[in-house]
């Protein structure tokens, strides 16, 4: 046994501070590396109609406040916009918030304070950005609401909304189910819907349109709407429980998973429950939206009847030309909605590729 010279407490503190400093430098470097990698992607050719405006927008500043790259949909969507704007010479800053509304508002205020030529925000919660948008209006910073819900006045003071047509997505889902079930030779059936986070406007809008279609087809009945929280595993679990619940009440003929990966969960649980799938087997008809690769693969395999677009790259490509127009001084509409596409086995040729990115 011996008394060894021990690391003194001063050493400990010095270590913390040193570590902290390293960490800080890493923060700086991190942003450094990200900005140095992006120019490499510039070679994506800017769409033709915007080239005229390029000269006018060079050096303009845009801040994109959006969800994070850890979400594949967000990643493609955001980077499509960023790359498009950069190709036109716009200076883009990208602030990630990881769907945390508090962080998002902090970032949004940060963006507004920098007085850029435009702020683009993908709201993680529609309500929570309202005060910040009001401030932006007062500060004269134009704000664009991307992707969220139809402009029903829930977010006042916006410069413009550039949105996916959520209602169309819901409508297509219902149409897909009805078409698929009819293709099996049935005249009606029980439907279930497993939604994205319940209560969000995206989920509400889509289900509203979904129900509108059903109202015109009274033989089809939506027996259950459950919250799948944009979670594949949870959706699968719920689906299997619902299959069990309705097994002796006529079964389930059609299921809507609000995103393709949720539809994939439904398909998996149908397999687990040994239910037949697809028109060919006269089984369960499943549809999705947001067109992910899993959905396209499932359509190819005949397990999923269809989906609808809101492909991130397509949505992104819809956004940035409008922003460039705006920066170039053109007036743009208060509401710009992307026409969505309905995807089934028949239209795979048209959408298969763009839908296989995420």
């Amino acid at each position: 046994m011996r008394i060894s010279k021990t690391l003194q407490s001063k050493g400990r503190i010095a270590a913390v501070v040193a570590a902290f400093a390293v960490v800080g430098v890493a923060a700086g470097c991190g942003s450094d590396s990200s900005s140095s990698t992006t120019p490499a992607k510039v070679d994506t050719a800017a769409p033709a109609e915007t080239t005229a405006a390029v000269a006018d927008v060079k050096g303009k500043k845009v801040v994109l406040v959006s969800c994070f790259d850890q979400n594949p949909w967000c990643k493609i969507y955001n980077h499509t916009i960023i790359d498009g704007l950069k190709a036109a010479g716009v200076d883009v800053t990208y602030l990630e918030d990881g769907f945390d509304p508090n962080v998002q508002v902090q970032n949004l205020k940060q963006a507004i304070a920098a007085k850029p030529d435009a702020v683009l925000v993908v709201a993680s919660d529609d309500n929570s950005i309202v005060p910040a948008v009001t401030q932006a209006k007062a500060a004269g910073v134009p704000i664009f609401n991307l992707n969220g819900r139809a402009a029903d006045g829930s977010i006042p003071n916006l410069t413009s909304s550039i949105l996916a047509n959520q209602k169309q997505l819901g409508q297509y889902a219902a149409e897909n189910l009805i078409e698929g079930i009819k293709a099996e030779g049935k005249t009606g059936g029980n439907l279930i819907a497993i939604t994205g986070t319940a209560g969000t406007n995206t989920a509400k809008d889509r289900m509203e349109a979904f129900n509108e279609v059903l109202a015109k087809n009274p033989t089809f009945k939506l027996v259950a709407t459950e919250d799948g929280s944009w979670d594949q595993v949870k959706s699968a679990k719920i689906a299997q429980q619902l299959f069990a619940k309705y097994a002796n009440q006529g079964g389930i003929q059609g299921a809507y998973g609000m995103a393709d990966y949720m539809a994939a969960g439904i398909i998996q649980s149908a397999k687990q429950a040994n239910l037949p799938l697809g028109v060919k087997n006269k089984g369960l008809i499943v549809t999705g939206s947001n067109c992910f690769k899993v959905g396209i693969d499932a359509i190819k395999a005949g397990e999923q009847y269809g989906t609808a677009t809101q492909a991130p790259s397509v949505e992104g490509e819809f956004v940035f030309p409008l922003i460039i127009d705006f920066l170039a001084g053109k007036k743009i509409e208060a509401l710009n909605q992307k026409e969505e596409g309905r995807v089934t086995a028949d239209t795979l040729g048209e959408f298969g590729e763009v839908c296989s990115l995420a």
Binding site: S9, V17, F20, A27, E96, N102, Q135
Partner: protein, 343 residues
Amino acid sequence: MTEVQQSPRQGRRARALGIMPVLLLVAMVVMFFVIPALKGTSPTDFNVYNAFQDWSALSLLALALGITVIAGEFDLSVLAMYSLGAMVAVQTGTSSPVLGVVLAVAAAGLIGLVQGLIVAKLRINSMTVTLGGYLTVLGLVNIIGGNASVPYKNVNVGISLDDPILSFFSIRSLITIAIFAIVFLVLRYTVLGRNLRAMGGERRATRIAGVRADPLLVGCFVASAMLAALGGSLLGYSLATAIPDLGFGPLIFAITAVLLGGVALAGGRGSALGIAAGAFTLALLNELFGLMATPDYISDLITGGLLFIVTIISAPDLFGWWRSVRAAKVTTPEQEPVALEKS
């Protein structure tokens, strides 16, 4: 019982760690100005204001967690209380924002009371009880909100709460500062604060000395719930929204802030001022991330690395381990020096 008393040397070591929050804050402030400069930008008044805003959104949550840690417990339910505060305030405070806050704080306090009683009377590990409490309250918040975020009709309240005052502050951050001041004074200059620290430090001795520990413990959980709910309700007003599930981001911020603020996980050490400093260090870091537009994964790595380093440095057995590593290097016992000459 052969209770090994902590030696003065260990005491000095532990106290020396107490200045860590200050050093970290200073280091952070320096970095806040130096790093952007390296990249050719510089932080503005607004960045400082925004850091204060971030601080006021989350520091009360850190304080709520922190006081239970000082008392030698750990309240995981603060996260749900935070959401509960926003939900109740937003739904009841349309006509009178103050009433909304009062109701929110009272509701949370009531649940905190139940948790505190379970912990104190049944002597159950507080982390388990508050985990159950976390899930229960989270469910409750979802029920109240109808599983959706709820807009606050009185948007102007949020806007005026966040209006810049003296360039750096806002009513919200000033309220938060005031709450911190009150809690600081209570912890520092009243019997309650002293007893709380005593209880976290050495519960047996505290009881022997004649302190009634159980009511104090229950009170601690009530206060924790109330502080979290207050923070949540202010955030709810500011965002003009109550969001039922905020994810774990806020909790991770709070735990990190408490640690960086010099609160010992073993209890008995820490102050409101330290927690405020720890939270501000983190708020500045977040603002720096924003200013530099640091990609999310880098901030993840930095936060995770920081937590790892701080835990390792404040780990109780670090020295013992270090010694045994050193000792292991001495291969043959004969080489060991005889520490003392024979008496």
